[in-house]
């Protein structure tokens, strides 16, 4: 994964979000505004078109009415030529919106001599002029204004045309057929025409201005431009020729729609580089003409576009600002962090005295820096303590090792102990659970004839037990040398131990004194494990306890002495509970039963053999489990007086 700094991440994320938000806002605003404008424009154009078409329709319809009325009145066959002429003139004078009116009859209708009878009154230079239409060069029977109502038998508006006489003004004519009854049959008699100038129309429509370049135009029934801001188009082009020249299929289709009668608001594609434009078109009620109102799209939306552009620019400026601010804030965070990170590396490499960078900002980063300093100081202290503790520990351990040596030193370790004496052999082994232990053994000559050997077990293990053990051993030696009975020895030692024994430590003891000539062995037992007497021949037996309690508790306790006689070859095996209570990993005890069993299996072992063998057995049993108690074993074999 590529590594990106916090500043980068923050900037990217925030900017992306901000961008999305901005884009959404601007975009939505833009489209909504455009939508609103579009709808408004459509509505406005509808109103405008309606207004315009209504005005135009009003004029056209009033003209129609006049012409229709005249046509109706001409159905009266009793009208004379003069009356007709008079009527013709009066209509013109009374109807200022009508430019000219003709009443044209079918050939020879009114006068059998005359082919043409078509009086025509019209305005000219502020006066009403008269002319009689119809001549070889003006055979009106085949002109649209005559022929169409005749063939269709209904009134129509002709296509607008340019009046040559009237100085190029666009005109349109409403022509109404009239009928008379001849020989009982209703026949076509002629037409009444009303000409109107479309100058006022051009004027009205050219005044329609929409935005800057919007405009309105009028199409004739066949799509010819009646009015248009571009005068070249008027009467020359139809909307379809325009479409053909611009190669726009869409324009042709729209032209057909316009003349087809729908009112609608459509988007015109870009034609001849004019850009996209909206067109509202509506059909007039009279004349079959169509009005079109053009809205330039760009201008319509100019405001919105401009607004959106400005909004975007503001947004972008905001972005730039945002970037700056974010980077600033990010730096405020990352710079201290980078410093702390560097400091952490330094400290990790061991430099605990490094001065941490000054960071005093009152925020999370400042808190972090403070915690860092606190941690560094704590670490320093801790390591200092650890160092001193370790030093202390090592010191203690070394002292313990020395203590062990001393402790072991006070126990007789040299074997064979009395090589020159064959009357007996004694062998002992001791394994403290810790560096120093609470087990003890000793053996020594009380006097020339009596040999004392003992085993003891101080409660607990470790240094406290070791102290007690040293004291006990010393006491025992000193008191035994007085030549007392074992019981008396124990009584005396117990009394000394029990005095000022605040710690409630006690010691189990088994002490025996043997007459090396006779083999008589006196012994005392203070709460100690029953030793085993292994006769030369026969089964090994437990030496039963005497019921005397452990030593060191009850000051006034008197201990009993018992005795047994050893015959040559007998072994007395004394041990501490470290043997019987040796545990395997499952916390199963070695137990007295196993001890006895093992001893029974041995065949006349020597003292050393016995001890070593048992040692092996115990080790095999414990399977490497941690030694829970001191293990001490002493074997004394009586050989009797040997003949030299």
């Amino acid at each position: 994964m590529k590594r990106h700094g916090i500043a980068f991440k923050l900037t990217t994320l925030t900017l992306s979000c901000a961008f999305i938000i901005l884009a959404a806002i601007v975009g939505y605003n833009y489209y909504c505004s455009r939508d609103v404008i579009l709808r408004q424009s459509e509505e406005n154009s509808r109103l405008l078109a309606h207004q315009t078409t209504s005005s135009i329709d009003a004029v056209l319809s009033s003209v129609e009415k006049v012409a229709q009325n005249i046509a109706f009145s001409l159905e009266d066959a009793t009208l004379t030529k003069e009356e007709i002429l008079d009527l013709n003139r009066r209509v013109i004078s009374n109807n200022p919106e009508i430019y000219g009116m003709a009443i044209a009859f079918e050939p020879y209708f009114l006068d059998k001599e005359k082919l043409y009878f078509a009086p025509y009154h019209y305005r000219s230079a502020g006066r009403i002029s008269f002319s009689m239409l119809g001549s070889p060069s003006y055979r009106y029977f085949y002109m649209d204004w005559y022929q169409i109502p005749k063939e269709l038998e209904r009134a129509v508006w002709t296509e607008p045309y340019n009046d040559e006489g009237g100085g190029g003004v666009t005109m349109a004519t409403y022509t109404v057929p009239f009928f008379r009854t001849v020989n009982g049959k209703r026949v076509f008699a002629g037409v009444v025409t009303a000409d109107i100038s479309l100058e006022w129309l051009e004027d009205m429509i050219s005044h329609i201005s929409i935005f800057d370049t919007g405009y309105a135009f009028l199409l004739s029934r066949h799509g010819t431009f009646i009015t248009h801001p571009d005068r070249n188009l008027i009467m020359n082009e139809t909307i379809f020729t325009l479409a053909e020249e611009s190669k726009s299929e869409q324009l042709r289709k729209i032209g057909q729609d316009m003349l087809g009668g729908d009112n609608s608001f459509v988007l015109l594609e870009d034609v001849a580089g004019k850009g996209e434009r909206y067109l509202y078109h509506a059909r007039l009620k009279y004349g079959g003409w169509a009005l079109g109102i053009i809205f330039p799209k760009a201008e319509m939306f100019a405001d919105v576009t401009r607004l959106s552009r400005i909004m975007t620019l503001i947004g972008l400026a905001g972005f730039a600002l945002l970037v700056g601010v974010i980077i600033l804030i990010a730096r405020r965070i990352t710079t201290p962090l980078t410093k702390l990170s560097g400091a952490a590396h330094e400290i990790a490499s061991g430099n605990l005295d490094l001065k941490l960078p000054e960071i005093t900002s009152n925020d999370e980063v400042g808190d972090l820096a403070q915690s860092f300093t606190y941690m560094k100081n704590s670490l320093k202290e801790f390591i200092r303590d650890l160092t001193s503790t370790t030093a202390a520990k090592e010191r203690i351990e070394s002292e313990l090792r020395i203590a062990r040596d001393i402790q072991m030193g006070i126990l007789p370790k040299l074997f064979p102990a009395f090589p020159e004496r064959d009357e007996f052999e004694v062998f002992a082994s001791i394994e403290p659970a810790k560096e120093v232990g609470g087990d003890l053994y000793d053996f020594f000559f009380v006097d020339e004839d009596h040999f004392c050997f003992l085993v003891g077990d101080v409660s607990g293990k470790g240094v406290p037990a070791a102290f007690f053990m040293a004291v006990t051993k010393t006491l025992l030696k000193v008191v035994s040398e007085r030549g007392l009975d074992p019981g008396e020895v124990l009584t005396k030692v117990n009394a000394d131990l029990a005095t000022d024994n605040e710690s409630c430590m006690f010691v189990t003891l088994f002490l025996a004194i043997i007459d090396i000539h006779t083999g008589e062995t006196r012994y005392a037992n203070a709460g100690h494990n029953p030793p085993i007497h292994i006769p030369e021949t026969g089964k090994p037996e437990w030496i039963p306890p005497l019921g005397d309690p452990v030593a060191g508790i009850m000051e006034d306790m008197e201990y009993t002495t018992k005795s047994l006689t050893l015959t040559p070859g007998d072994i007395l095996f004394i041990y501490t509970d470290g043997v019987t209570e040796a545990m395997d990993p499952a916390q199963k005890l070695y137990s007295e039963e196993r001890l006895m069993e093992h001893v029974e299996t041995m065949n006349k072992p020597s003292a050393p053999e016995l001890v070593k063998d048992l040692d092996t057995s115990i080790k095999k049993f414990t399977l490497g489990a941690e030694q829970s108690d001191d293990i001490t074993m002493l074997a004394f074999q009586f050989n009797g007086e040997q003949d030299k």
Partner: protein
């Protein structure tokens, strides 16, 4: 090692289960101190479910007995069996303290 205490009149019956050795002995000491603080000085230790006791355990019993003696109280034992009974016998503790076979005997006695 676990203790279950039940008050029975003015005597506190404490059932000790598990092992009382060098590891758990300090716990026993602490417990005794707290019992003494609570004013209990007549303790019946029911050792029916005590599987093992080491010399450290014996020592803590001694210490407890000594404290109770100072507080004019006492500790008696019941339900000893197996290895624990042997140790008590061999060490002579059986003759130092009052031992009863069952709890009821201890309560009665």
């Amino acid at each position: 090692m676990e203790f279950t205490n039940t008050k029975n009149g003015d005597k506190l019956v404490v059932a000790v289960t598990g092992r009382l050795d060098a590891v758990t002995a300090p716990e026993f000491d602490t417990q005794c101190k707290s019992w003494l603080n609570d004013g209990e000085n007549r303790i019946i230790a029911d050792l029916s479910n005590l599987e093992y006791i080491s010399s450290a355990g014996l020592r803590s019993i001694l210490s407890a007995a000594k404290q109770l003696k100072t507080a004019k109280g006492e500790i008696i034992f019941c339900g000893l069996n197996g290895m624990v009974e042997e140790v008590f016998t061999v060490s002579g503790f059986a003759s130092m303290f009052a031992m009863y076979p069952t709890l009821d005997d201890a309560l009665a006695g």
